[in-house]
Subunit: 104 residues, 2 copies
DNA sequence: TATTTGTGCAACCAAAAAGTTGCATTATAT
DNA sequence: ATATAATGCAACTTTTTGGTTGCACAAATA
């Protein structure tokens, strides 16, 4: 399924999972232990995160380790950066206009 | 209502609204014109965006102009940055370890 | 003054999201 | 060989989300 990174990080539990796995690769049960929802709830969060490429899974025997893929987060900071650029370039931004004038 | 910036930018329509308003302040009807959903649908999106501080409204006669508040987007890029830091500092990141070794 | 324009509110609806429980499957450990 | 541990799948429920329509109301305009 095509998933959206923005939608994936909208959920606080999923953001927490990303933080945990960024720190250290963890298998699904280990991730589950840190939360007080069911294993399946976490499993589904992880599924969403893998479907949008924020996590990858490495099978190791019967365990599946989650690894974070930082590259995909670039889409997020990229969008923020894009907004900032638009904002900086707007003509009717008075402060900005005065600043530019002052720098000349 | 307490709103979450991450949840607010999860919706593509809302991200588009932010982009539009970053470029130029617009009243609600002007925003609506760019989309093919009802005025109320857009009104609700704008409500969510104001509730989490990404937009502010300036009343001008009977019109209400939306202005973007870039500061609030810092929470997003800040979180991404935080994740990146955690990732960079992890001890079991082999590539990272080798790079550090090489730089010494 | 009458009409149009820009907006807000309430009630409602359908689809998606987030969660649960129970059962099945496979690898490891006893 | 059996028990246990780690996971996947399916069915189901509840809540949230994104959308609609109809009505109301104040400001601007003809």
């Amino acid at each position: 399924m095509r998933r959206d990174v923005f939608q994936a990080i909208a959920d606080p539990t999923r953001r927490e999972i990303i933080g945990m796995v960024a720190h250290q690769s963890l298998n699904i049960n280990s991730v589950t232990e840190k939360f007080d929802v069911s294993r399946m709830a976490i499993y589904k969060h992880i599924k969403i995160l893998t479907e949008c490429g924020l996590l990858t899974i490495k099978q190791q025997g019967r365990e599946r380790y989650c690894e974070v893929k930082m590259e995909r987060l670039a889409e997020v900071s990229g969008w923020v950066e894009e907004c900032r650029k638009i904002w900086d370039n707007r003509l009717d931004n008075l402060d900005n206009y005065l600043n530019k004038l002052q720098n000349k």
